[in-house]
Symmetry: C2
Subunit: 158 residues, 2 copies
């Protein structure tokens, strides 16, 4: 249960572009240097963000990357989704691949229920947080964390 490099760097690049403000833009060299990754790699990640519709790219002189939408309209869950595939996507726990038949044995049921509970917990954080939340300072950050409903949401698992 680890973060992929794509998820980590992708989100960081996005936050950095967000910090550039409305209409502000950053170039690949600027971003790659700030994040300490090679320009090629930054470009690769930024391409994913662009294809996901989170940033816009402008070529040529004065070019660079800008947010494609206002920060409050960018849900972090969707960003992570685009960067690293679906949350907890797995070849085993495949409620999405229509292989319901595999859930006849109890081991499958138990484990899948657990992963579902974890996924719901994660989604509760990531689907509520927007890029705007990440652009506040740390103190403000914690305020939205406190607003996450607990048992009510988790009950959805069943």
């Amino acid at each position: 249960m680890k973060l992929s490099a794509n998820e980590e760097y992708g989100l960081r690049c996005l936050v950095r572009i967000g910090y550039a403000g409305e209409g502000g833009s950053l170039t690949i060299p600027e971003i790659s240097q700030a994040e300490g990754v090679s320009p090629s790699y930054a470009a690769k990640i930024l391409r994913v963000l662009r294809k996901g519709g989170f940033v816009k790219a402008a070529r040529g002189k004065e070019g660079g990357y800008t947010l494609a939408r206002p920060a409050e309209a960018i849900v972090i869950g969707n960003v992570i989704d685009a960067l690293g595939g679906r949350l907890f996507e797995s070849k085993f726990c495949d409620s999405h691949s229509g292989q319901a038949a595999i859930c006849t044995r109890s081991v499958d049921c138990s484990v899948r229920s657990l992963w579902r509970a974890v996924q719901v917990a994660v989604d509760h954080v990531l689907s509520k947080a927007t890029l705007r939340d990440l652009l506040q300072n740390e103190e403000d950050m914690n305020s939205w964390v406190r607003t996450i409903p607990g048992p009510a949401g988790l009950r959805l698992v069943q």
Copy 2:
């Protein structure tokens, strides 16, 4: 944010051994066939579970794997930990490696706070669930999920 094969198969193997009941044991061929993996791979995973102290192995005829402790004394969070490294362990978000200095730039702070919130949410599920919970049927399963406290726990993030 994906599950590793180790985490998925490891937990499944453990649950399967748990289903064998108190003192019941399963051999590598039995487990590997049930899970649809090669005996070699099952052996590799079971080694991790053994070194983690979750199962005991007996060699020779009548040998096999047994739970090392009662199911209610096995916390799933610890199992996942042993199988796949620390939750959300990352070379970036390294509050564990004492590199606090990296948190001077706001991008680092924002992103790390987010991951911390996610980790807390995940821990709330995994540190409360025991193997015993997974051995119940699915209906019973959901009952412990409902008991997870929400905002109270997440407030710990700050």
